[in-house]
């Protein structure tokens, strides 16, 4: 019967699909798993061939990352903690401000007509087309002149500048999905447009704000080019710190791995917190017309 044959093909396709998924998962998660394992290995275990699956966990990597335990005050202290704090501050403040400004700009671009609106929107988008390397030198000179070099404040400005265009465009899309009637109903019924924006429109684009914040946070957290040029010691962010990690005794792999894990965790936490809004926000225009 043709029916069973079809089922056979379906089954084969299904297993093939599952196989590919498994391969893809290994490809993606493998390095992270390896990183996780390695971060708990001692320097000895790390270089054992073939690699050990079972070993005695060693926390020295994490101790030196956070500067606690045996690594406290030790010369080999990697001192990543300071960079972690820098990263968290720069990314969250930068994201918050970029999303805040992008939300306001996105609303204006969605609802109002002003002369040069098309050019303005293109300009906003074009700020993201720029390869960072092309302007790094000028940034460096400018920041040095303004006293912004190696400061968190300077990096926050960079994070805002790098993300505001993206935030404006994404938020404009979400606002476009909210019917004009929302404001019209409010205005006819005796409310102000500001009330409509704050109490009616904004709650309708919560998901969009979360999704936008998600994108901006990833970009800000992973930002490397600007941070590596514009910081020297005090304001170094975690990615920059890790890339330049070598201690008195050569490259501290255990510590690098531990720092890598630390680098991943905030992103996981952030996305765990906004996951509900994210699903809603990723499907643009779900608000519908009615």
């Amino acid at each position: 019967m043709s029916r069973s044959r079809t089922t056979g093909i379906d089954l084969a396709a299904r297993w093939l699909f599952i196989g590919l998924l498994i391969l893809y998962t290994i490809y993606n998660l493998g390095p992270i798993f390896w990183l996780l394992i390695s971060s708990f290995k001692s320097r000895m275990d790390l270089f054992t061939m073939p690699p050990k699956i079972f070993f005695t966990p060693d926390l020295s990597g994490y101790e030196s990352v956070f500067g606690v335990g045996s690594a406290k005050d030790s010369a080999s202290a990697f001192g990543v903690f300071e960079s972690l704090v820098n990263s968290v501050i720069v990314s969250t403040v930068g994201t918050a401000l970029a999303v805040f400004l992008g939300t306001l700009a996105g609303y204006v671009c969605s609802r109002f007509n002003f002369s040069g609106k098309g050019d303005f929107m293109f300009f906003v988008l074009s700020t993201r087309m720029l390869p960072p390397v092309a302007v790094l030198v000028f940034y460096h000179l400018m920041f040095a002149e303004l006293g912004l070099a190696d400061t968190r404040f300077g990096l926050i400005l960079v994070a805002i500048f790098a993300n505001i265009g993206l935030a404006t465009w994404i938020m404009k899309g979400f606002f476009d999905g909210v019917p004009q009637e929302v404001e019209q109903i409010a205005i006819v019924n005796g409310y102000t447009r500001m009330y409509a924006f704050l109490h009616l429109v904004l709650p309708m684009v919560k998901g969009g704000i979360a999704a936008t914040a998600g994108f901006c946070f990833i970009f800000a957290w992973n930002e490397f080019a600007f941070a590596s040029i514009l910081t020297t010691t005090k304001a170094k962010t975690l990615p920059v710190k890790i890339s330049a990690a070598s201690g008195a005794t050569g490259i501290e792999w255990t510590q690098i791995c531990a720092a890598g894990v630390v680098l991943i965790i905030p992103v996981l936490i952030f996305f765990y917190l906004i996951r509900k809004h994210l699903l809603m926000g990723m499907t643009f225009g779900v608000l519908g017309r009615r």
Partner: protein
């Protein structure tokens, strides 16, 4: 109150250079239901939005309740609006949606009063059981009821209804139309109702305005419009089926329908001067009689299509003069492709200018437009 409730004078509005309103004039009396009937893009919504103050006009004045409100913001105009699709604020539940206006800085009432009014209005619209629901759990008909309740609860000077029933299915629409009339009777309110639906307009309205290209072509009761359609466009929009039009030419002292059809004496159309050339003869399908092909002074045609309308059947008849649709009287059987003949009843024909579409005939005694 004496004087009109709403008076629109020469409204003009363009969107990005495309005119939507081109000098629209309109008057709506107090306590009247006025339907603005026109096809999509005729300027109905723009007229309503301009009345509410939600769009800024290029020129023209809006008078509401005897006051010039052109430069007054929407909250100061005391109107309520119901849209076709999106009406309910998803961040509020049904109860709070209805109470929305009554909690605003402009129209604030005490919570006791709000509660009482919600109760009464919900009862009137039979939505009492929905008050605690989220709006996204409501059906289309329930949503429109809630939207109408929100408009009613404030008792505004003027209700603006922008195709409020168009998104609903036929049964629901008919039911809500009757309810709108019922509400109107109880509240003694003035309603301005925009629709593209002829049946909806005549079912609800006291008077109808036909709008196209951003101007009102004609306004009046349905009887007035039937008696004196201003032009071809009005005829095409009114009636079900709409007015039948026949290409014709002036032949001596009579008008002859193209294709050697019916001859109608020019005198039948009132005091027309001597004329020549092509004209359009119009007649309501109800005033056209299907007769046996042997009858003298008729027009010939062929049945192009037959459609079932429940109890009755309508046919489309094509001929050299054009095509029209008519409901067949009971007992008359016709099939597709049958030959047939018909005549316009004496004194029932209208004469229209072929180029401008304006009515020429004055049989119904009033000066020319």
């Amino acid at each position: 109150m004496t004087g009109p409730m709403l008076k629109l004078e020469g409204l003009r509005k363009s969107y990005r250079g495309k005119p939507a309103l081109r000098g629209l004039d309109l008057t709506i009396a107090d306590n009247e239901i006025f339907a603005l009937l026109g096809p999509t893009g005729a300027g109905k919504s723009s007229t309503l939005l301009a009345t509410a103050g939600l769009i800024s006009l290029d020129s023209g004045r809006v008078h509401l309740g005897g006051r010039d409100v052109t430069d007054i913001d929407p909250a100061g105009r005391d109107v309520a609006i119901v849209f076709e699709g999106f009406n309910l604020l998803p961040v509020l539940d049904v109860k709070d949606n209805i109470a929305f206006a009554l909690r605003s800085p402009t129209f604030r009432e005490s919570e006791d009063e709000i509660k009482a009014r919600i109760g009464r209005t919900a009862e009137l619209l039979r939505i009492s059981h929905l008050l605690d629901r989220d709006v996204d759990t409501l059906s289309g008909g329930e949503r429109q009821r809630v939207a109408i309740a929100r408009a009613l609860v404030r008792r505004p000077k003027l209700f603006l209804l922008d195709e409020p029933l168009s998104a609903l299915d036929l049964k629901l629409r008919e039911g809500l139309r009757a309810e709108l009339r019922q509400i109107h009777r109880q509240y003694r309110s003035t309603m301005f109702y925009a629709t593209h639906d002829y049946h909806g307009a005549i079912a609800v309205a006291d008077r109808i305005g036909i709008v196209d290209g951003g101007v009102v072509l004609q306004a009046g009761t349905i009887a007035e419009i039937y008696a004196r359609p201003a032009n071809v466009f009005v005829g095409k929009l009114i009636g079900s089926p709409a007015m039948a039009f026949f290409e014709a030419h002036v032949d001596g002292d009579a008008v002859r329908i193209t294709g050697n059809g019916q001859r109608i004496p020019l005198a039948d159309f009132g005091g027309l001067g001597p004329r020549t050339g092509t004209v359009l003869v119009g007649a309501w399908p109800e005033d056209i009689e299907v007769v046996s092909p042997a009858t003298a002074n008729t027009s010939e045609g062929r049945i192009y299509a037959v459609d079932n309308r429940g109890f009755e059947r309508a046919v489309q008849i094509n001929g050299a003069y054009g095509a029209f649709r008519k409901v067949l009287p009971h007992g008359v059987e016709m099939k597709q492709n049958d030959a047939c003949a018909f005549r316009i009843l004496d004194g029932a024909a209208f004469l229209f200018d072929a180029a401008s579409g304006n009515r020429l005939s004055q049989a119904h005694t009033e000066e020319r437009a």
